[in-house]
Symmetry: C5
Subunit: 379 residues, 5 copies
């Protein structure tokens, strides 16, 4: 099994996601530590209906006393930068080598796998970027046991689990009265709901682009539409497997997840479907925008061509007339040779004819509606 | 479970639908009251085969005496603007916290859920706008019990249930002889049938656009087509899950819905399929229109270019001839220097040549059919 | 159940199909009689292996004596313009109110429904128009009982059942030896086979458009392609549900249809699949035509631009030269001021230079192949 | 059941396939003999593991003695032009009337049908045309009994069964050791494999078009692409139902086909899937070509426009300058009136200015890369 | 069964893949040796948990002593150029004739087939080309028995199995402790993982094209996009059937593959799905690029047209004015005949008017933003 840490995010815009992969054919279960990955920070939260403690620990082994107690132990590992710690983590939680590989060699496709007394869930969390467009995307792996939950995040800096932590310590809602399966649900729910703020930004960007594409289509607009389509494709790739994952969790009958939590997961599944619905709608809208863009560019071309045609159509005949009376036929040799030149009202008459022609053409073009259009061009 | 009240309608055109969502990770079952939502108005209709009463009530608790009687009690809540009343409503009807959240935190995706002795149905009602294009879209939630039906609407101003109310009080048809399940059917049927007038307007708009797109394609047309596509996408998102919802109602064997009503629901399901059929057809037509638009714009460009080419092709050679005889070669230095200038018929001959060339070119273009086309341009 | 008579045909070209619908929320089973619908004409055909009679009757009640005899009774109602007669028809045949509604409130989507001892089939018949393009589309409803078949057509003027009637009276084939189920099969088969002549016309129109689109693309062509696509969409909407209907008839085990007739229906199903195949193929071809049209229009634009460019490229330099020798520099002030004007061969040399330039440019354009193309433009 | 002989091939390019159909509503099982169809030629091949005979026979009845012997009898009927012989054939082989109709009223959609002790297979054979592009398409019907195989071909001139005949008479491979089911397999396999040479030609044509479309896009190219798409659509319509047919043959458990032959049919099925794979790939490539064509045409337009712009941009300013010095302001009236005309170096200076402007503009356009492009135009 | 060695790779860019096929209708199991195929080189690797040997052998018969021992024997045949050796190979491994045909007559579609005590897997290996774009594609066939694995490669020069060989000899991981099924897994895993480096190159090419298509769209870009689409189509055709193949291996219950290896294959299946995901994403991106290209070309056209229009709009009126004062009306005949020519400030005034007009037009165009755009044209 080759270890690979590659391209799922290749279209992501986060430079920190350096994608790489190992030589095909290496031993399955080998884990690859990215040299630039941040060192892991481990936080243990242990709670029961009556009390909750949180402490940061240095070595995975410090968790062991907590794991088999009745209280729920949540071991949250943030960062993948130390192979030794990750290997020891695997031993403490007795992970199958393939599981450890899936957890560490990000990105993996979201999925759920059942290993006897453990349920391994690979999920993907998105968070809107604060400063620019786009979103951060990060793998979160769950190992769910009877009395514990191990979560492994790629990145220590940010996650969307803070409200859950707060609910544990403030003992709000029913979280503390339930087991580790409810905790896993609460975190997955936070991940799925985290898609909504990201999507909302895309809704706004698409609305902005709608205006821009019709009134001011520039190559920059094109680039933006393409970007939005690209990022929505990435969101879609992140949410679809999570829907399937939730579907599997609801359907399967394994003992780790209780029926009560399944009711909650069903609700979470509905939200995932809603996210998919919105992603697909936005994708269709963005695709439609591309068509509109092409049409709008053609429209502008029409306007430009109309302007050129109007200018040419008016001046070319006039210039021709001026050219005619610029000819040097000898008026003295014959009365038929350009007698107009010697007329008393020749020049004014000539100018008048020109003015009439110009006015006539202008009227025709105005009647066709070309003049207004070209003036509307930049609106 | 995050509470969210968000983007399902983001492409709707109703400004009252302010989409927002809560912090991912908040407690499931939390309800969010939109500050701008209208305060709830509660109407209780209680009827039996022999009599029917209707009264507006202030507190949910006033319903309690009616709920367990044999007569059908329809509690219709319109408006979501008071958290306290909504919470008490939940207690009166013993709603699961997730159900209350689904009812209040609109928009939710249409679905049906079975909670032992209650059937919860989330539906979406559309009504054509009176003044402009587009439609109002509103969530209607049903909680169906053995002898009662709770409906919760977003908006007190309008619904499409008036004919049903009238049938109850005029004791028309079989509605009063049947239970709450038939009432629920009658309302859902009214919702599904409410799609038809909306769709009819889109049928007309598409027909108008067909004409406009071929005869007068402007950027405004483009915007209209895009708008229609967008709104049809929204209709599609509203009707598809309702079809599935009806399918579930027909298939599932729960005790709340009787077999006789199931026959009626099957008919209602057929109508939902018919709505989908029409939505998809209109979507295909609208997509086709976009292609036609692009082609029509290109066509007009051709016409413009033809006009420019005809004008240029005719005057450029003539102007050249005029230019030639405007040269100042000294006719006195040589008999070969522009002897035409001194010919007796020089000028008339020159004009005649020009006229012949112009006539010839005009004939060629007429023969190619360019002249008629450009005259047809604005039709 | 709202009664609606609406938009299924909104894209049909028949003005007689005035689409309308009732207020959503009206009583299910209400029938709506279109004021312009033709009054019903009822024909009763009763046949057994040995004899066949046909008579036109005025009231539905006249059928009653025939219905329960062993001979097959075919009651053919043509026209939906009399509510009283339709209601009495419902009583004679003991139709469920929903069935009567489906039969009368056209258009309904084709479907089959099983009502204990009756099989209700809603089908859609198409017939090519005689004078112009397009087709007539009409709903035919079947109510099939053990010894009788009720058919209801929208329109008395035309149907495609004449050959079946003739087979009954001439006692040709096995029709008279079989029951009402075989009669229903024979009529459905006639309906399905009726799609082939309609499709053939589309095949021809598409072939015509193929030529037109490449050699003479005009906005009219565009309109025609769009029209064909639209009508094929409508055909598709008519045939798909009939395929499903036939599939249901073959699969279901109800007692009204015998196994022998099921073999025939399987053949009819194959034909429906063949119709779908052809409709989809034509739709793909028509879509392809739209792309070809766009390309062809661009091609013509290229040709027009080439012509303009050739003309401009040839005459603009020549005109420039003429302009140069039209300058009025004073040759007397300096020997360097336009000495060409006083040369003996000045003018001929100038013309010669112009001719050489023109010839050279023509050669270049001919070499590029631009000249042939522009001459091929109208072919 | 209407007899129809219609449009499946309407997009075929073979004029001999005159499509027609009968009046909808005629008696099922009626066969329609096309007046132009070639008269049938019947060849009987009878073989056992030890010997093989072949003889041409005149009447179907001559087959009877061979049909029930243990040896395999292959009756190959080529041509559909004699109704009497076809009817007698139906009697000899005891065909169901619908089967005879399917065999004779070509084109029928490929399918397999099980009639107790006969298996009826309708297949479609394609052969590349020798002289021009495209392919011959012909229906081959199989009636497979325990000891005999009846095949009916549309056309006596060509088929792709020659190698099979040769294997029978040279007793090569295992064909003679097996029954009629193996013979049917061998012929179907020959039909499926016959798609490969046809497809190969399309592969080549698409490759040729790829070059043409980028370097030399003309309306002719467009027509070719459309043609290829059209013909691939036809191939697809021929192969898809044959895949389903093979799938049915493998899955069904009927006694006529032995398990050993089923292994061979599975291989044949794999080839059909491979054909579908290639057809779909070619279709995608051809669709892509249409896009490329459109882009390439736009590209050429750009090149043409650049050329026009370069020419105009260079000569228009020069012509203007020439025009200025062609003005007739009276130099004697004022020292400010065109003093340049009387300068000693006036004319050379003027020409020099013109040259500088031209050189400058040429440099700018060269720098923009427009000059190279327009020279690359015809490559 | 026709022997064919044909078009699966027709769109590949490797000239060595000369596609050809045999006459349809030839004997199934016939193998076709391509005259240019490299002669086979056979390497036998035999290993047990304790030791591993590797030797190159000349004749297939040399394998026989190893095949039935408990140790795992991997016979790796590279090259298909010798019919005799291939036939003897078939005898040594007791291959069904159809299997030998599938192995030798490349390309075959990837698939898995179960022959009692052998599992035959046809896979397709891809490797990035070192020097240019594109990839090498090669069929690898596996015949998996209880204690042996036969692999047949098309090409001796390269494969991606080297790391597996190295793991065997260095006794790394668990490969030597497991049977031939694990070896087959390891090789298939290496094949699937071999898609990632190929895909990564496409990710990079698409990113490069994104830049190019917006800033510098040339016909070359078009060709590149088309090429990428084409090659991705080919990758897709290679990976999809391998996903199905892995799915079959996981699901089927045959005895050759142990449950432990099935866990590993499930992981390998996940990677295949990930590959498909990436291929589809890249295909969508490449399709989007084509649209962007078309829009970008239109954009550039707009820029070119703007430039032409600006130049024409400025100089055409000026030239007209110059033309007017180049007319030869006789100023002596009338005071109204071009009195400007005799004004003292006539010429300067004329030039000034021209300058004002030019400045005004420039200002208008600058205001419309046309001037900046045309300067941005080549960026």
């Amino acid at each position: 099994m080759a270890k690979k840490k590659h391209h799922l995010n290749s279209i992501a815009t986060e430079p920190e996601n350096e994608d790489f992969y190992h030589q095909p054919g290496t031993i399955p279960g080998t884990i690859i530590v990215d040299a630039n990955a941040p060192p892991p920070k481990i936080v243990l939260i242990d709670y029961s209906p009556t009390e909750a403690i949180s402490k940061e620990i240095d070595t995975p082994e410090e968790c062991i006393p907590y794991l088999d107690t009745e209280s729920v132990s949540w071991v949250d590992v943030r960062g993948l930068g130390n192979e030794d710690i990750l290997q020891r983590l695997g031993q403490v939680f007795e992970l199958h080598p393939l599981v450890l590989e899936d957890i560490v060699n990000v990105p993996e496709r979201p999925k759920v796998q059942d290993y006897e007394d453990q349920l391994v869930i690979i999920a993907r969390m998105v968070m809107p970027k604060k400063k620019n467009h786009g979103f951060h995307s990060e793998q979160v792996s769950f190992v769910l046991g009877k009395h514990y939950l191990l979560t492994v995040q790629e990145e220590p800096k940010r996650d969307c689990f803070e409200p859950v932590r707060s609910r544990i310590f403030k003992n709000k809602g029913i979280i503390c009265k339930n087991g580790s399966d409810y905790l896993a649900y609460a975190l997955i729910d936070a991940i799925i709901d985290g898609f909504f703020p990201v999507l909302e930004k895309y809704g706004e960007r698409i609305e902005d682009l709608e205006d821009e594409v019709i009134s001011q289509p520039t190559p920059k607009t094109l680039r933006k539409i393409y970007k939005v389509k690209q990022e929505l494709l990435q969101l879609r790739r992140a949410i679809w497997p999570q829907r399937n994952l939730l579907h599997t969790l609801i359907q399967d009958d394994n003992e780790i997840i209780s029926n009560e939590v399944r009711v909650y997961l069903r609700d979470c599944y509905d939200h995932a479907v809603q996210v998919i619905d919105m992603v697909e709608t936005y994708r269709e809208l963005a695709s439609g925008l591309m068509d509109v863009y092409l049409s709008a560019v053609s429209n502008r071309m029409n306007e430009i061509m109309k302007l050129l045609t109007v200018i040419s159509a008016i001046f070319i005949p006039l210039t021709f007339i001026a050219g005619v009376y610029g000819m040097n036929f000898n008026t003295e040799k014959s009365p038929y040779n350009m007698p107009e030149l010697n007329w008393y009202w020749g020049y004014p008459a000539c100018l008048a004819v020109m003015a009439v022609i110009a006015a006539l053409l202008l009227y025709i073009f105005w009647h066709k509606g070309w003049l207004e259009n070209s003036s509307r061009l930049n609106r």
